[in-house]
Symmetry: C2
Subunit: 484 residues, 2 copies
C-alpha cells in the first residue's frame, strides 16, 4: 500500500524530463533533477522514493539509469536506504539548499565534511595499498628528479610529457609486456579518464561511435562521451567482448575500448580468437582499438596473453595505463602508448587544448622507475597483495561457502564474486551494499555497473588497502549481512 | 574573382551543418568539420578558404565562430595565412589522415613534433617568467614537504586539498587582499579551468545561465559550458561589466563570472558602483558571483579596489585563482575561496566525481608559501617584471608612437594595446598576427577573444618570459610588420 508521502514523491518524480539529445548521461540528469527536487523542498525530508524498477518503468528508461541516480544520491547523502523498505529522502540542514545563504567568512572554522565514499573501508575496490608506498624513497626522488630536470619541467614545452618519463615508461612496458616501444610512442596523461577524453577529442570526428564492453566501466563511458563520442555497449560472454555482436550493433564504429587482460567487472580475459577478430575488424574498418590492461602489473598465476599492442597486425592499437593504483591516488600520472602518428596527433591536441599534465611529479616518477625504486615497490606490493588476496579467499571459502562464488581471475587488486541463488532469492547486491554502508563496509555491487541486460549479482571486493585482520573481520561482517 | 579552387572549397564548406542543440561551441564544431574535410581530402591541399566574414554570412553564424575555427586550424597547422590573400589549406603528410596507418613500433624513434603554439616567443601573453623560478628552493620544498606530509598526501582523503596548503593560501590571501578566510573556506583546484568546471558541476542545475564578460575569455566560457551552464555574454564598457544589460539579457541567471581587478582582455577595473550593483543583483536573485582577480599579485601602481569577496554584503562570492602563472605552467594548482557552505558542496562534488587534484606538489607548495620562499620569489618576480614592462612600454612609445595606443592598466603580466585607425584601415589584428607567426612573434589579437559586437583591434602583449633585449627586438619586428 502506497503511503501519501510516497504518492507525493512519485508525482514530483514524474515531472522529471530527461533529455536524450544532450551528451549528459541519463542517470546523471536524473540524479541532478532529483537533487533539485530535494534541495527546493518539493521532495520533502523522509519522503519515500519509488523503487528503481518502478521509477524506470514510469520514466521509460532502463533500470541502470535509476540505479545510477539513486546510487549517486545515496553517496552524496541526499537519500538513504532503510532495510527492507526502500529509499528515503534524508533530512538536510535547512540552509544547504540556498546557494546565497552563507556563514560570514572567518567566524567559524568547521572542519571539512568527512569523506562519504569511505574509500578507507573494506572492500573498496578502488583503494590502492597506499600505506605500503615508500614515502622516504619518493621524497628523495622528488628532490633528485627536480634538480636534474626542473629547468625542463618549468617550461611550456611538455605537451607530450617529460622525455625522461616517457623513456622510463617505454622501458617498463618492454620489461612487463615485451612491447617494443620507445619514448616517441608514449604520451603522458593524468590517468585513464584523461587518456580517454584526449583520445576521443584528438582522433574522433564528432559523434563517432565507440564500442564499449557491456557490462563495463561507467567512468570510462563518461569520459568517452565527454570527449564527444557515441557510446555503443557491446555484450561480453565467457570469452570477453563479442566482436560479431559489435559488428551487428555498430557496424560503423571507429573505436573500441576493451579490458583484454581481465574484463571489467567480470574478470575473464579476452580470448585469443576474439583478440584476432577484434584486430581484423579494426584493420578492415580503419578503427582504433583502445586497450586497458589495468592491474596487469599484479599477476598471481599463469602467463599473460600477449597484449593487443604487441600483436603486430597493422591495426591501430592504443594502450592506456595509470600509475595511481600502483603508488597513491593523488599521483595522477598515466600514459597512452601506440603508433607514432597517433601519438603525435594526441600531443598536438593537448597543445591546442592548452592544459599540460602537471609536471611536478614527472621527473620524480622517471627517477623512481629508472632508479629501481618502482620495481622494488612492485615486488613488495605483489608479495603483500598476494597475502591479502589469499587471506580474503580463505575467509570467503570458510565463512561463505554456500553464499558466494569466486570467479576465476589471475591478476589484480580486487576479486569478483557472485551471489548464490539462495541469496538473490531474498535480496539483491544493491540492497546488501546499501545496508553494508551502515555497517562500515564499502561494497561495489556488480549490478551497479552499466549493463543493458541483467547480469550476475555480486561484488567487486578490493583487498589491496587492508591488513589481514581487517579483511577477515570484513568477511565476518559480510557473512552476517548475507545471512540475516 | 573567385578561382575554381575557391569555389570548390566554398561548396565543401557550405555542406557543414552546425548543431546549436549540443553544448560543443559552434567555433569548435566548425573547426572539427573543416578538419574532417581536410583529412578526408574533400578540401584539397592549397585550396583557398573563403574569408571568415563571407563564411560566417554563408553559414548564418557570427564571425566569432569562423574566426575561432580558422584560428585553431591555423595553430594546428591545417591551414596557413598568405599575406594579403587569405587562408589556404596546407599540404599534409598524406598518411596523417588515416588513423589506421601506422609506423610499426620500434622501427623509428623520431622526436616529438616541435611545439606549434610557440609559447616561448614574444609576446605570448600566457607564458610566465618561468626562468626566474627558484628550482633549487623548490627541490628542497618538494623533499621537505613530502617528508612532513607524504603519509597524508598518499591517502584518499584529500578531496578539499591538503589542509596545510589550504591554510597557507588563506594566509596568502589575507596578506594580499585582507580576506578574512581560513583553511575551511578554501578548496584546492588544478587551476582556473578546473575551478570553473567544478563550480558549474557542483552548484548549478542543468542549463542554468551564467553571465560572462563580452569580450571575454574563451577558455573560461568553454569550461562553464562543459560544466553544463548556458553562457550569456554581457557587454563591458569603460566601467567593466554592464550589470543593467545583464539583467535585461539574462534576468534568470544564477551565476556571473567577472574579472574585477582587470577586465580580460580590455584591462579596466570593475568600478565600485558596478561592484555594488553586481552584488545587489546576486543577493536579490540568490546568484553566485565568481571573481577571477588574475595577475593581482603583480601590481605596479595604485591600490587595488577591495575584492568582491571582501565586501561583506551577504552575497555569495567565490574567488578563483591559480599559482601556475606565478611559478611555472606545469604546477597546475589553484584555489576557490568562499563561504563554507558552498566550499563544502564543491568538496563533496569532487569526491563524487572521484578524481582528486594531484597531491605531489601540494605539500611542497604549502611549505614554499609558509616558509617564505614564495614571498621571496614574488618580490623577484615583481622587480624583474617591472623592468620588462617598462622596457616594453618605452620601446612601444619610441617605435610605434603613431600606430598603437597602450591602454591604462595597473597590474599584470601583459599589456593591452590597440591599433590606430591608420593601421586598421590597411589590415587587421588577425592578419598581422598570422603574418607575425612567420616572423618569430606570437601575438594574441584582441579580436580573437569572443565578442558579440566588433570591439577594438589590438593585441595582448605578454612580457613576463623574456629579457629586455628580446622584448626590444620583438618591438622592432612588430614595427616592421605594422609599417609594411
Amino acid at each position: 500500500l502506497a503511503s501519501r508521502r510516497e504518492i507525493a514523491s512519485t508525482t514530483a518524480l514524474l515531472s522529471v524530463v530527461l533529455d536524450r539529445g544532450i551528451p549528459e548521461a541519463l542517470g546523471h540528469q536524473l540524479y541532478r533533477r532529483i537533487r533539485e527536487l530535494i534541495l527546493s523542498g518539493r521532495l520533502a525530508a523522509t519522503a519515500r522514493l519509488p523503487s528503481t524498477r518502478r521509477l524506470a518503468e514510469d520514466l521509460g528508461v532502463s533500470r541502470t539509469v535509476t540505479l545510477a541516480a539513486y546510487d549517486q544520491l545515496g553517496i552524496e547523502g541526499y537519500i538513504e536506504a532503510r532495510r527492507g523498505s526502500g529509499q528515503y529522502v534524508r533530512s538536510l540542514d535547512r540552509t544547504e539548499g540556498s546557494m546565497a545563504r552563507q556563514t560570514p567568512p572567518g567566524r567559524k572554522t568547521r572542519a571539512m565534511p568527512a569523506s562519504s565514499l569511505h574509500r578507507d573501508r573494506p572492500f573498496d575496490a578502488v583503494a590502492p595499498a597506499w600505506e605500503l608506498f615508500p614515502n622516504g624513497a619518493w621524497a628523495r626522488s622528488l628532490a633528485r628528479g627536480w634538480r636534474r630536470e626542473g629547468a625542463l619541467a618549468v617550461s611550456y614545452d611538455n605537451w607530450a610529457g617529460l622525455a625522461s618519463l616517457r623513456a622510463a615508461i617505454a622501458d617498463h612496458l618492454r620489461a612487463l609486456q615485451g612491447l617494443n616501444f620507445t619514448a616517441a610512442h608514449v604520451v603522458i596523461t593524468a590517468g585513464n579518464t584523461d587518456a580517454l577524453q584526449l583520445i576521443a577529442w584528438a582522433l574522433a570526428t564528432p559523434r563517432a561511435e565507440v564500442w564499449v564492453e557491456d557490462p563495463g566501466h561507467m567512468g570510462a563511458r563518461g569520459a568517452l562521451r565527454r570527449g564527444g563520442l557515441e557510446v555503443t555497449p557491446v555484450p561480453v560472454d565467457s570469452e570477453g567482448l563479442d566482436v560479431a555482436a559489435g559488428r551487428r550493433l555498430a557496424p560503423g564504429a571507429r573505436f573500441a575500448l576493451v579490458t583484454p587482460a581481465r574484463q571489467f567487472p567480470l574478470g575473464m580475459p579476452l580470448s585469443l580468437p576474439r583478440r584476432i577478430a577484434l584486430l581484423d575488424w579494426a584493420n578492415e574498418r580503419g578503427a582504433v582499438v583502445i586497450e586497458d590492461d589495468y592491474d596487469s602489473e599484479i599477476r598471481f598465476t599463469g602467463r599473460p596473453l600477449a597484449s593487443l599492442a604487441s600483436l603486430d597486425t597493422g591495426a591501430a592499437v592504443l594502450s592506456i595505463g595509470s600509475f595511481s593504483k600502483l603508488t597513491f591516488p593523488g599521483l595522477r600520472l598515466g600514459y597512452i602508448v601506440g603508433p607514432e602518428r597517433l601519438v603525435a596527433r594526441l600531443v598536438r591536441a593537448r597543445e591546442v587544448a592548452g592544459t599540460p599534465v602537471a609536471t611536478t611529479a614527472q621527473p620524480a616518477l622517471a627517477e623512481f622507475i629508472s632508479g629501481g625504486g618502482f620495481a622494488r615497490h612492485l615486488r613488495t606490493l605483489r608479495q603483500e597483495i598476494t597475502h591479502r588476496r589469499e587471506a580474503l579467499i580463505a575467509a570467503l571459502r570458510t565463512q561463505l561457502r554456500d553464499e558466494v562464488m569466486i570467479l576465476p581471475q589471475e591478476v589484480g587488486m580486487h576479486l569478483t564474486i557472485t551471489l548464490s541463488d539462495s541469496v538473490t532469492a531474498r535480496t539483491s547486491d544493491e540492497e546488501i551494499a546499501a545496508l553494508a554502508r551502515t555497517r562500515g563496509l564499502n561494497l561495489e555491487p556488480l549490478s551497479s555497473h552499466p549493463s543493458t541486460a541483467p547480469g550476475p549479482q555480486g561484488f567487486l571486493l578490493g583487498y589491496a588497502a587492508w591488513n589481514l585482520d581487517r579483511l577477515v573481520a570484513g568477511v565476518e561482517e559480510l557473512a552476517r549481512l548475507l545471512r540475516c
